[in-house]
């Protein structure tokens, strides 16, 4: 029997959010002159950042 191949996941470092990922993306893309207004980098949340109900 072949050994199990472990799953490969998308995890964020502790204290890092997807907003940080978007900010990094925006910095990289903007550095080459791309218009990145659509990447709502820092915020992008409804209700001024308050969490929605689960």
């Amino acid at each position: 029997m072949e050994p199990m191949k472990l799953p490969a996941g998308y995890r964020l470092p502790k204290g890092t959010t997807m907003a940080d990922v978007r900010r990094l993306d925006r910095e990289l893309l903007a550095s080459e002159g791309l218009k990145v207004d659509d990447l709502k980098a820092e915020n992008g949340r409804r209700n001024d950042g308050r969490k929605s109900k689960q």
Partner: protein, 189 residues
Amino acid sequence: MSAADIVRRAWQELPRDDRKLLEAIRADQWRLCGRALGTCADELLRSAGSNSLPPMEISRANDALALWIPDLRVVLINEAHSAFDGLDGPTLDYDLSRVAWHEWGHALSLDRAEHDDIAAGERYVELLPAGLAILVRAAGYRPREYTHEIVAEVYSILMARRRLGQTGRPPWLHVEVYELVRRVAGWNQ
């Protein structure tokens, strides 16, 4: 747009050759789970007759926003992960697409990266832009996972960049890393 619609569109946005490559390695299936992915993956594996994942792997995977499960040939996405909570429509679209592209990059890398590519993971991290290198190092990946993470993450950013109409090697990406992604993920845009 629902999470399912977003992921479907992200798939359709992939270059046709990339979709064909993913289909050829049987990596064209995905599932939205809406709960901790380690537990979800373990249940799916056991129901398919596989062994259970080691408890530490379940715990690691439970933190993940998405997973590629090589033995089941499926991408799992936890659309209920707190990282996606409360996002407005365009931002959710970006984040879910970004994560799905990352996982398809993973699928390509896990199947196609050579031993030497994996062994050179630390060197490839050193060639990344500083912010990306920090993400790879700080997320708790093992050194032997570095190459797969780099291929997946760069592939995903290249897709985001392609959505903005830009192709070719970005000036911020070292030529060796770009060639790695071209070789392993088949990127030819």
